[in-house]
């Protein structure tokens, strides 16, 4: 009993690389710990990207099964497990979307549907929750390539390096995409504020 507790404590404190090794050897507890550590990140990322809990669950499961696969072997020397998992999740999502070509085209198209710029007007007070809701919607409506950067860098607080590794793009691209995404959200936010101000005037 004591031994088991001790072993469990040791396992909980083990590095991702050690746990991964143990999981490859068939250690179910190691896999469970890895899931507890990183399952949330993968699930949140896929949920934000897919906006569908069923898809998010499916992809999350596939990502963790990929940990045991030989094809996408995780190499601890190349990066953190969290970024590796996000990279796999992203690939799985793209595979999923490739089954629905039209949707993917719409999602990837970054050229149109620019949010209308709000006209310069007096800044009005806006209920914070309304602004938050507007940005939430704005994030969901961002093209995939911008949304994934926002989710990783802003919502998951990953560094640019980590996000670049997970998304397999250069750091410069991460920066520029994040800049574009924020610009869009800012426009949206200003527009919402203007709308709110107009609404209060109408009342």
């Amino acid at each position: 009993m004591f031994d088991r507790l001790l072993r469990r404590r040791n396992t909980e404190g083990a590095s991702d690389a050690d746990l991964h090794k143990a999981a490859l050897g068939g250690n179910g507890e190691a896999m469970a710990i890895l899931y507890r550590r990183h399952g949330g990140l993968v699930y949140r990322f896929t949920l934000r990207m897919s906006r569908d809990s069923a898809i998010a669950e499916e992809v999350t499961q596939e990502v963790f099964l990929a940990l045991l696969s030989k094809l996408d072997r995780f190499d601890p020397e190349r990066g953190a497990l969290a970024t590796w998992l996000c990279g796999i999740a992203r690939r799985q999502l793209w595979k999923h979307w490739s089954r629905f070509d039209s949707r993917m085209r719409d999602e990837l198209d970054d050229s149109d549907t620019q949010p209308e710029s709000a006209e310069d007007g007096p800044e009005t007070w806006l209920v914070r929750q309304e602004a938050v809701a507007a940005v939430q919607v704005g994030i969901d409506e961002l093209p995939v390539i911008l949304r994934e950067v926002v989710v990783l860098c802003e919502l998951e607080e990953m560094s640019y390096e980590q996000a670049a590794m997970a998304l397999e793009i250069p750091i410069g691209t991460v920066r520029s995409r994040l800049h574009r995404a924020k610009a869009r959200l800012a426009i949206l936010l200003r527009g919402d504020a203007v709308g709110a101000a107009r609404g209060s005037k109408d009342e």
């Binding site: 050897g25 399952g39 949330g40 949920l47 669950e57 963790f64 940005v135 939430q136 924020k182």
Partner: protein, 202 residues
């Protein structure tokens, strides 16, 4: 509170976002599905060693068997066709031909036989006389047509199927009633490709 309202809002959304946990039921499903596949299991990794060991043993046994069989086969006297006649001992007795009847039919065979045998002996004398094989040319009848041919250092035995009438071209006399009969014979052929002696098989 930061000056940038968007950054503020994003931070708040992020805090809320990070409270979302992965579904617990997925953990149980993963536990079921994560059982290591056969290809990943350590026991499977050992199996190629077993396979290699068994495979190598089989190959080694096969090779040994093949060598033993070849050795045994090489000693069997039936495989005489195209065998090199390495040497003839000087002291080898010269038994009478098995096909005495044939020999008698062809007249002066006995006297010529000795002469050709001497030639063959001379040809193979360079080789060690101690190296005696099971082969002898005792049963062969010298071909009358080979009289005057130069001595040879190496001879081969070639088995052929032919009509008895063909013997005439080698200097034998063949009775008309026996001429159309088919027979098997072995020729002693010199290194120059010319036959020196013949033995009737049947």
């Amino acid at each position: 509170m930061r000056n940038d309202p968007l950054a503020d809002i994003l931070a708040e959304i992020g805090r809320e976002h990070r409270t979302t946990e992965a579904p617990r039921h997925l953990a149980a499903r993963l536990r079921e599905e994560e059982r290591p596949s056969i290809a990943d299991s350590p026991s499977w990794r050992l199996q190629p060693r077993w396979a290699w060991g068994v495979g190598l043993t089989i190959v080694a046994l096969t090779i040994c068997g093949a060598i033993a069989w070849q050795t045994q086969r090489g000693h069997q006297p039936h495989n005489r066709q195209n065998q090199k006649v390495r040497s003839i001992p000087d002291s080898a007795p010269v038994p009478a031909p098995q096909h005495v009847r044939t020999a008698q039919l062809y007249g002066k065979a006995r006297t010529q036989q000795t002469a050709v045998r001497d030639k063959i002996r001379k040809a193979t004398k360079k080789e060690s006389q101690a190296d005696v094989t099971e082969e002898t040319l005792a049963d062969f009848i010298p071909l009358p047509a080979s009289e005057g041919l130069p001595p040879v250092s190496e001879v081969s035995v070639v088995r052929v199927q032919m009509q008895r009438s063909d013997l005439r071209q080698y200097g034998f006399e063949v009775p008309a009633e026996l001429a159309p009969m088919i027979m098997q014979a072995e020729f002693v052929v010199g290194e120059d490709g010319l036959p020196r002696a013949i033995r009737i098989i049947r």
